[in-house]
Amino acid sequence: MPGKLKVRVIAGRDLPVMDRASERADAFVELKFGNTTYKTDVYRKSLNPQWNSEWYKFEVDDEELQDEPLQIRIMDYDTYSAHDAIGKLYIDLNPLLWKDGVVGISGWFPIYDTMHGIRGEINVAIRVELFTDANKFRESSCGVKFFCSSCVPFNYTAAAIYGFVEELVVNDDPEYQWIDKIRTPRSSNEARQRLFSQLSGELQRKIGLKVLEMGGNAVIGYNQCFDLEGESGIVVRGIGTAVCLIKSSLMVSSPSSASPSRDPLREMWEFSRRKFPLTEDTETASPSSPTTTSPTKLSESPTKAVPCVTRRASDSDITGTPTKGGSLASSGSGSGPTKSAVPVVPIVPQSSIDMLEYPFFSINHFPSGFLVHLGGMVTARSVKLLDRIHNPDEPETRDAWWTEIRTEIRSHANAMGCHAVVGYRETTSICDEICVLSASGTAAVINLQTDAQQQAVSDQKGLLTMSLDRKEFEKEKGHMKETQSSSQDGANADDTSGETLFKCSLCHIPYKENSLPFPVSMAKCCKCGLSSVPDILFTTIQPPHELEILGKGCLLQARICRTKRKAQGEANAALVSDALPFMEYELHRQLMSKLKVKGMNTIFDLRVQVNVGETLLVGVATGTAVYLSALPPPTLLRVTSKGVTPNTGKHISDVQKKIVDTTTKNRDFYGVNPPETIGDSPESPRVQNNGDVEPVDDVTEINLSSGTKETFVLEIDDTEDEGIVSLILDPEIPKGFDLCSTEVYPGNKALSKQLQMFSVVYRQTFNLLETPNNRKLADIFDKLIKMACFKLRSMVPCCVCDLHFDVRIPEDDQIQIWLTAAVASVEKRSYEQQLTGKAPSDSDLQFTMEELSDQSSHIPFTGKSKAHKLPRLERRMQYIKDSAVYRPVVEITPLCYVPGATIDRYMGNINLYFIRESTSVREVGGVSGFMHSFVSEVQAMIRSHVLALGGNAIVAYDMIECVLSENPHKNQCQCLINVTGDAVRVIHDLELPSFSEEESMETCKTETIPENIHEKDSKEP
């Protein structure tokens, strides 16, 4: 019996009127966990009941704690008939199982009913006491932390990265069970919500077991989704990156003067490397009650309290540590990822990349030195028939499907000379019995032995595997010398403070030029001139800080739709399979063309979504285009026509002129005019630029002429092709807006304060008479973007970042788009300055200088240092003004950090499912009205969960699923939403103590920070 769950029901407020006569309610609360149920007293005739119950205790297995949510049901007492339900609340207990996590969940939660929405609020307090269990064969994996953030969490160090973990669980969908025919919609919805919660708990527990087996203690970049297969059931899939995290004792925000970084994420990595190893608290295994193990003191110390002195001190820590090559000197102070529940977890040294079955990493932000070379984007898709699953209740079939896909991805990566896939993602699209499985990622050569790990290993006594890995790695490097030189570079960078900030080696091709199964144009690296780089790079990851971006980037999107014949079963699957490559090709062509018109050469965070409908296929690729200075300047898009008649000749040249004009305009607008290409004709590429440089690597000599041969050409032969031209010319973005899909500003600026986070639910029904085409599809997206900008017009200048589109085809004549983004103000300064901005005494100059020194002279950013220094005071004043400005009680952001704030602590992973149904859609303002309230309600629930965990923000927020079904004739509508994210506590920039106090008084009246739970209890009457 390894755990005790304790729950107390304190009060309710603003309950709905349940008794018309008295205009009051007689409410009581039912608590259910596992098979145990408790009830509070009935609080009569009140809409604001004060139960002040005792602590109800549940004795439970930790397995149960992981799988089951706590169910709280609020009822209205009825003497004669059945009690009426007011609403329910499900609470995921997993955050309470984190060992150094929150002690309790306590606060006001909206009472939610699937038929009525939010109906008042309830105040509850929950705690869990865990007992140590040394059972080796246990089924639970309590304490393994899950992070949706696709980076190493702030304040943590990755002592080891173990790589890919995945699991899938299959179950019946209650919506399709026979019983659903006789039960009420409410109980059906509740059964479904409960099941989702249970399945997700079970899935995480199973993944957790795998992580423990590997020696890890956390999953980062955790990505979970539901496949609603219909008759064949519900599949819950989870993928992530297993790591061993160690808490850094100092705050991230202490600026690392030694190595300037370009974004907070890098700062974090830098920091963690530097701070490691330090005392850490996770060792203290207190078997009796976790309530006494308070979270580490240090983690609570506010950011700005960290003086520079500490930084220096920690810097000196580093000097004592061995340099690269990893001598195995032991320092004896064995710190590590020990979990109290696990009997023995030695620090397992980093396993070799070659030992990983699937060398996939679901994260998008990487520590310095992790990425060595980027190969390019890899994708695999497969069409499956759901009604052909032999054993629908068992996961085997689906497991096999995904294995197939992953194997394919792996072989794609290998073909590109890469041994790893980063920024890895898996998705599905289901339409009746057709299921399209997709996986994508970026093939890369990586170095798992980040310095932190090397240190971790070196701190460990008598560990050996390391050397083996090392050897493996050296061998690999022997293959490609530039690998070595670059990683050497990386090593140097860490030891000396005056290192090169940018590493062009990331773009150097990891493959031999002619070894690829498809032709790629090559050129010499524009930065070093030594190695080959591709002319265009597509990746699924966030822009690595090592790569220098010229000017600023922008959102880039390709949208394709194709019609398809109606068919059944295998014939249908065949049709879809046949159509997919064409779709893929068209998407690629559109992306390429658009990229060239933008005057850019690289796409980051590229996500390709393919949706299948009965007669419609829609593919949308969204990413952020940038100009990487290492890659050659993009050639102009050329237009040709084969069927040349006198007329078309003229026409073609008109089109060509339009493209050239737009490209020139874009180059100016985005500041991506490479000095050497100004005035260049499209035919004369940048060969002369690096022609005379002697390559030092042993990659086959590059045939320079071959580079130009494959210049991208758009052929226009008929009117349909002409449509393509109009498609690649995006409408102008409204003034004052920057748009991107990435989490960081794609350029040399920083996001300084989040202003808003928004979701847009959009659905359009096509006129039955018109067939949807690419133009119409593009119009929808353009309209959505324009609309969002109109909505946000008061916030300019601002950057709409992490802009993601989720596309569905709910009905064949309908397209549904779900859009989420963060809106942040942008400041001219770069990230490191943003961070120093908090510490009043820090020398701004130092950074500016360093940054400047890194920028090679030919980059047109030179005058910048002065510009940085000058407005500093102004900036500060602006800040003080800003901090007086409103800040939401709970910040929601799809980013993995909060711009303008520092993450102080992670409170837990949030994964919530809601179903909402209405039988009076017209009365609530139609489907739009229904969705508007539902999305608001979901956001409200998220905020309350974050607050109850003691947090004030949720990062890596994602709306994973939004399934809307409708029956207009019956005036009915049902929607399912699944949201996830990491609850955190952040400290806002320049948050003066007086401010924060005021704020907490003003806004958090109802919030109870778990740490204070005891005090609160005693205060209660």
Partner: protein, 347 residues
């Protein structure tokens, strides 16, 4: 109960019912202009027209379509807000919409604002559902949209219901329960006061009076004639001090023919020194107040003097001399009455 809101389908329905375009932010920022249009009772479609007239499309480059979706977003937000606005303290607690505190204040204040013409019509009427049904007459008369009239009516009723039996100072009560400004709370206090004490403000003779006149008078009466005014002891503010009314009855002796004559003489003789002959003559002939005064073209200074003397002259009457208590009551009555009359004394 108050389901007149905008939730009925006709108002919110976009062109195609099955199309969706919903924008939800983590923070709900409210455009005060759109809010005002909504409060004024404009349908979403009318609001789009109204906004279009401000030249917003030209300024922002938006399409009419976009403006419509934007307006609908706001209207939906308002309809979610409305339930909360009926109990303003909930707005800070509720979690459905995250609204900056300054906006919260604005939303409440504006929601409880009312149009004087509407209030003037409603004032003195019973806040019954029958009268609520007759609001279309008022709407027609005041050319204020019916929806807005209903909101105002319901606000009056809601405030009235909450504070009518409540102890303590009425303005404070309204402020704490509805979080509105003191200015607005005073106006509501007047409404509650009149409604509670059944003042017949609808009399033809009072037709010329404006809402500020009434609120001023109510304010005076609340300040002086209620229990709370003399006693800090907690009591109901909306009622006129019962004891006072009882005692006031004693001053009715003034109406006795004899005493009245004495009083009149005293007043008249006192006035002779101060007023012109003409005024004096008028005064003597009819002893009523506002209407006659106005007819004879008194200045408010004249009225003030008259009332002052009217008050003080009682001291010279035997009955009052014998009963200082009576005199106190008389002064309490007259002081407030004077201020009310002076306020009401305009054309």
């Amino acid at each position: 109960m108050y389901t007149w809101g905008i939730s009925s389908a006709g108002i919110l329905a976009p062109a195609n019912m099955s199309d969706i375009n919903v924008f939800v932010g983590n923070t709900s920022y409210i455009d005060p202009e759109v809010y005002q249009l909504w409060l004024d009772g404009l349908s979403a479609t009318d609001a789009v027209y109204a906004r279009q007239h401000t030249g917003i499309l030209r300024k922002t480059g938006a399409t009419r379509d976009m403006l419509q979706y934007d307006t609908l977003d706001y209207y939906r937000t308002f309809s979610m807000l409305e339930k909360i606005l009926h109990h303003p303290p909930q707005i800070a607690n509720q979690m459905l919409l995250q609204i900056p505190p300054s906006t919260q204040k604005m939303l409440i204040e504006k929601y409880y604002e009312f149009d004087f013409p509407v209030l003037r019509e409603i004032l003195g009427k019973k806040l019954s559902s029958k009268n609520r049904k007759d609001l279309d007459d008022i709407s027609e008369k005041t050319s204020i949209k019916l929806k807005s009239c209903r909101r105002q009516f319901d606000n009056f009723k809601r405030v009235f219901k909450v504070v009518e039996d409540m102890e303590g100072p009425i303005v404070k009560n309204i402020q704490s329960h509805f979080l509105i400004s003191e200015r607005l709370a005073k106006q509501y206090a007047a409404i509650v006061f009149f409604a509670n004490n059944r003042f017949d403000t609808g009399k033809k003779r009072l037709q010329y009076l404006t809402v500020p006149d009434f609120t001023h008078c109510a304010d005076e009466m609340i300040a002086n004639w209620t229990v709370g005014s003399i006693d800090s002891k907690v009591d109901i503010d909306a009622d006129i001090d019962r004891d006072f009314l009882q005692e006031l009855r004693d001053t009715k002796i003034l109406l006795d023919k004899d005493i009245s004559d004495i009083h009149r003489n005293v007043v008249c003789s006192a006035l002779q020194d101060k007023m012109s002959e003409k005024v004096y003559v008028d005064m003597e002939s009819n002893f009523k107040i506002i209407d006659p005064c106005r007819q004879t073209g008194w200045t408010s200074e004249n009225v003030r003097n008259f009332l002052e003397i009217y008050k003080t002259s009682c001291k010279q009457i035997e009955v009052f001399k014998r009963q200082p208590r009576l005199l106190r009551i008389w002064e309490r009555y007259m002081d407030t009455l004077t201020r009310c009359i002076l306020r009401m004394y305009h054309s």
